[in-house]
């Protein structure tokens, strides 16, 4: 348990450092949200100066950082100039949507990758495995952006799936279940796209981890004992392959969120991604900092979770730790 307490403290320090570095970086940023206003001859310089002062943008870096920390303590994470409200409520909704999308896609990708990975590991170097391997590397070579665009075209051409947003416009008043179904329907396309993007990498890892565990001496012994094939696979080989797979999960969160950002932007899923792109373009810098911080929190939290899972699944770590 002390190990986890230490990891937790470490994570918090990391987040603190990250936030400070982001502020340093933004200090170097030329211009701010009000730059566009400067071009408007009807707005005087005094007005802009007053506006900047009212948002505290004219204060020195350290003062702003201190203020930001304090507002983060109060659960606000600074103030968005573009939305004219605290950052956290905006981020919360978006982060929830991102998690829904990324979570569904992760589940889908794992559900597909584990059976296919086991299958190709059991029959590795067979013709089917070779063909599968080729198909997987071909899918891997399709840029993420192109996959997203292809999904979009599919939806627009066939009309099978709704495009954009999470809910139909007229659904607002109906019951919880029909709204859930509607959201699920909207989720199909982005989740499929994201799962397709992440699936090849996972499949490869499942395959190589399973091959390694299938070829290990203890499994040969188990086989020699006459343990049935299925039991051998799922009770002996798979748990032994769990360790690298859990580590893969913790590594893949960052990539997953990055791909998710792309999918969200192209398929207009109202997650963190479009918000971040929007606020980058409009220089709404507190939102950018908030988005980066939040996504890092997901990554750090995910790797903590993975460590817990490793602790639970791998006796070597349990005994040592």
């Amino acid at each position: 348990m002390r190990y986890f307490a230490r990891r937790l403290v470490h994570a918090l320090v990391l987040l603190g450092a990250l936030s400070f570095v982001s502020f340093l970086l933004l200090e170097a940023a030329p211009g701010d949200y009000f730059d566009e206003m400067r071009l408007n001859p009807e707005i005087s310089d005094q007005t802009i100066a007053r506006l900047r002062a009212s948002y505290g943008l004219d204060r020195p870096l350290l003062v702003r950082y201190e203020r930001w920390l304090r507002s983060t303590m109060h659960g606000q994470m600074g103030y968005s100039v573009a939305y004219n409200e605290p950052v956290w409520p905006i981020l919360r909704v978006r982060a929830r949507n991102t998690l829904v999308l990324a979570g569904t896609a992760t589940a889908l990708a794992w559900l597909a990758a584990i059976p296919f990975g086991i299958l190709s590991a059991v029959k590795h170097d067979s013709l089917g495995d070779r063909i599968g391997g080729f198909v997987v590397s071909a899918v891997l070579a399709v840029p993420e952006l192109v996959i997203c665009l292809a999904m979009l075209v599919l939806a627009l051409r066939t009309g099978w799936f709704p495009v954009g947003g999470m809910e139909s416009a007229k659904i607002a008043g109906s019951s919880f279940w029909s709204r859930l179904g509607d959201t699920g329907y909207h989720l199909v396309l982005p989740a499929l796209g994201l799962a397709l993007i992440t699936f090849p990498v996972m499949l490869r890892h499942v395959r190589s981890a399973m091959i390694e565990s299938l070829e290990s001496p203890f499994l040969r012994v188990a086989r020699a004992h006459g343990i049935p094939r299925m039991r051998l696979l799922f009770r002996y080989a798979l748990p032994a392959a769990a360790n690298p797979l859990i580590s893969l999960f913790s590594f893949s969160i960052g990539t997953m969120l990055s791909s998710s950002l792309l999918v969200e932007v192209v398929l207009s899923w109202p997650g963190l991604g479009p918000l971040l792109v929007e606020s980058t373009l409009s220089r709404d810098l507190y939102v950018v900092v908030g988005g980066v911080m939040l996504s890092s929190m997901f990554v750090i939290g995910g790797s903590l979770l993975a460590d817990l899972a490793l602790f639970a699944s791998d006796p070597r770590i349990r005994v040592r730790g």
């Binding site: 990391l14 170097a28 940023a29 952006l145 192109v146 990055s258 950018v288 988005g291 990554v299």
Partner: protein, 342 residues
């Protein structure tokens, strides 16, 4: 020797693509900014072998675009036939920004035009833009990957070799850079830099940002190797003979890391090419009128383009084999250097 075959084919293909990009001016019939305003979103020009009279030609030809402005509908349309000419003189261009030339591989006589991939909203030739875009995208990818690897390699080597406070500092920095998802980090860093800049500056900016983002992983790997190598016998022996730190690093320690550095480079290049495409797609990358693969794809954000003009997808399709080759190379390298004991 499957490794060599796989690697060889992929390297050959990529060299071909890079050659096409380098001599884009020669292979492209038009300049990337040359507009044919009366033909926006023209579909790919059809190449004919058989003319209206049923005669077969050896060299494919195109027809003049039917002139819509003054055609009376009742007049019989006579289309004039323009065979494709090879090594024609046309718009002047520069190879690698130095040598001037004006010979193009192929072209057709004015007023006919040849658009192999169709045209965009301003009537610019997509094929030419794809080739010129390759220059920007591939160069951005390679330069940024080189920057990342150089930076990461140097920091990692120094950290591993000297240890102590330097090591602590570098390790913490890598943690910081690995904490945020890379695309979020990329946008975050991009947000801190000026938005509206001239094209070449935005290119430099892009390469700098990409290069700075990805140094952490190579740094970690290099550090790990240096840590183990510096305790090896031959390094200790050299130290015993009084070799200086710099000599030890360059002559004995760093050569052991070349495999990892090469592998990381091969992994980073396609990743950065994609990153450039993504950033430009979002509108924070390389600006118009300079084409990059990202700006070729970004027109697909418009609904009308997406559903009406299928040929705007052609560049996207050509990206797939290119990335396939890149991934084959990085796979082969990874496999190779894993089996070689370090």
């Amino acid at each position: 020797m499957r490794y060599r075959n796989k690697l060889g084919a992929a390297v050959l293909f990529l060299m071909l693509i890079h050659g096409l990009a380098l001599f884009a001016g020669f292979f492209a019939p038009y300049n990337f900014a040359e507009q044919t305003r009366d033909r926006p979103f023209a579909p790919p020009t059809r190449l004919h072998f058989v003319d209206d009279q049923g005669r077969t030609h050896l060299v494919p030809f195109v027809y003049d675009a039917a002139d819509m402005s003054d055609s009376s509908l009742h007049a019989p349309v006579t289309r004039s036939l323009r065979p494709i000419q090879f090594l024609v003189r046309g718009t002047p261009y520069k190879i690698a920004g130095v040598f001037s030339a004006n010979v193009h591989l192929f072209g057709v006589q004015e007023p006919a035009r040849i658009f192999l991939f169709g045209t965009d909203a301003l009537g610019r030739d997509q094929f030419s833009r794809f080739l010129y875009g390759a220059q920007i995208s591939l160069m951005a990818g390679s330069l940024a990957a080189g920057l990342s690897v150089a930076l990461g390699g140097a920091l990692g080597a120094v950290a591993g070799f000297y240890g102590g406070h330097i090591d602590e500092c570098v390790t913490r920095m890598t943690e910081l850079f690995l904490a945020a998802p890379w695309l979020y980090l990329l946008l975050g860093v991009r947000a801190a830099l000026p938005l509206h800049v001239p094209e070449w500056q935005s290119f430099v900016l892009l390469v700098g940002v990409l290069g700075l983002i990805g140094w952490a992983r190579p740094a970690r790997l290099v550090r790990g190797i240096v840590l183990s190598v510096k305790e090896r016998q031959f390094v200790l022996a050299a130290r015993g003979f009084g070799a200086s730190d710099a000599h030890l690093l360059c002559r004995h320690v760093l050569p052991e890391t070349y495999g990892v550095i090469l592998t990381q480079f091969s992994i980073l290049v396609p990743q950065y090419v994609l990153a450039e495409v993504t950033l430009t797609f979002f509108g924070v990358g390389v600006g118009e009128p300079v084409p990059s693969w990202g700006s070729l794809l970004s027109v697909l954000q418009q609904y009308s383009v997406l559903v009406s003009y299928w040929w705007m997808f052609i560049p996207a399709i050509f990206l797939v084999p290119i990335f396939f080759a890149y991934f084959q190379i990085s796979d082969a390298l990874q496999e190779h250097f894993q089996s070689v004991p370090l």
